[in-house]
Point group: C2
Chain length 190, copies 2
C-alpha cells in the first residue's frame, strides 16, 4: 500500500552543493543548494535553482558564472552553515574557515578545501515558480588529487558526497558500491 503525501518536493536523493559566485564588487560568496543536477551531456550543462531574493541569484545574473562545489561528508557542518546565513550579512568564507580561489576559466570563486569543483558559465535561465532555474555550461571540473582512485578517476567513496532528504531536512553519506552502469542490468535479458 502506498500513502499519498500530496504536492511536495519530496524525493530522494537530492545533492548538497555549494554555489560559488562573486558579487558586483568582487566579494566572493557561497550558498548551499539541493535543487540542482546535470541537464545536458553535450555541451555538458548543469542546472541550479535559486530564489530571486538570494544574494547568489543577483551575483549569477551580474557575473553570468558560478561554481558548483561538492562537500565531503566530513564538511557537512560547513555545508549546512552556508545554507543558513546570507552572504549579504556575513563573510561565509571567514566564518567557516574556507578559502575562496578565483576559477581559471569562469568569473566565479571555488572553495579550495572542497574535493570536487565544477566551473560553469551561465547560458540560460528559466523562471519556475518561486525559483529561477539557472542553466550553466560546464567549462571545467577539478578534483583534489588525493581523491582520485587507482584508475585516475574521482573516487566516489573517498569524496563521499552528502545526500539530502527534502521535507525530512536530513543529511546522509554514501554507503557501498553496487555495480557498474550499463552492465549489471544485462542479467535481466538472459
Amino acid at each position: 500500500m502506498k500513502k499519498s503525501f500530496g504536492a511536495k518536493t519530496l524525493i530522494y536523493p537530492t545533492p548538497v552543493w555549494l554555489i560559488g559566485t562573486y558579487d558586483k564588487s568582487g566579494k566572493p560568496n557561497v550558498a548551499t543548494i539541493a535543487w540542482g543536477g546535470i541537464c545536458s551531456s553535450k555541451p555538458p550543462c548543469a542546472s541550479v535553482s535559486l530564489r530571486e531574493a538570494t544574494y547568489t541569484h543577483g551575483n549569477i545574473m551580474e557575473r553570468k558564472a558560478f561554481t558548483i562545489n561538492v562537500p565531503s561528508s566530513a564538511q557537512v557542518e560547513i555545508a549546512d552553515y552556508c545554507g543558513i546565513v546570507s552572504g549579504r550579512n556575513v563573510d561565509k568564507f571567514q566564518a567557516a574557515k574556507i578559502t575562496a580561489v578565483k576559477s581559471d576559466k569562469v568569473d566565479a570563486p571555488y572553495i579550495n578545501e572542497f574535493p570536487m569543483i565544477m566551473e560553469c558559465k551561465l547560458v540560460n535561465h528559466v523562471e519556475t515558480g518561486i525559483h529561477t532555474h539557472f542553466i550553466g555550461e560546464i567549462i571545467d571540473v577539478q578534483v583534489d588529487e588525493i581523491m582520485l582512485g587507482e584508475d585516475g578517476s574521482p573516487d566516489f567513496l573517498k569524496i563521499n558526497p552528502i545526500l539530502y532528504g527534502p521535507e525530512i531536512q536530513s543529511y546522509f553519506d554514501v554507503g557501498k558500491y553496487l555495480g557498474k552502469a550499463f552492465s549489471i542490468g544485462k542479467k535481466i535479458n538472459k
Copy 2:
C-alpha cells in the same frame, strides 16, 4: 592540488530515477535517468532531461505528464536494465517483472514495486544541448507504507535510493545519517 578533468558531466552524486510514461496508444514505458532534480519549491517542480531520440521524450511531449520512480538499492539491476534497452523494442515491465499502475492524478504510469513515486504534469520544456529539459509540476508523491519511519515520514535509510557517479558509470547506495539540516551548521556561528 586539484587535477583538471575538462568540460565533463562529472559531479557527485546524481540520482537514479525511472521516468514512467504512456505512449500515444496507451502502452506504458519506463526509462532510467540520472539527469534530473527538484527545480522549484512553490509550486513544487521537478526537472528531468531526455534526448529527443528516446521513446520517453515523445511520450512526454504527447501526454504532457510523467512519473519519477525511485528504486531501492535492491532494485539496481532493474534500474540499470531500464536504461539499457528501448521501450520501442521491448516491454520493459514484462522483462523486468515490474507492474505499471495508472497514476491517480496524471496521465502516466508508475512502478508499483518501487518505494517512492512522484506524479508530474509537464509545465515547460527547455532545449539544452542534445537534451530536452522537461519541467514538471509535482502533483502528488506516494510512498510505500512499509518505507515510512516512526514519525510517518518516508525513511531515507529504508528506501535506500541509488546514487550514480557520472563518467565512472557506477552505482552506490546510502550510508549513514549525518545530521539535521538548518541545524548542525549553527555550531559555526558560536
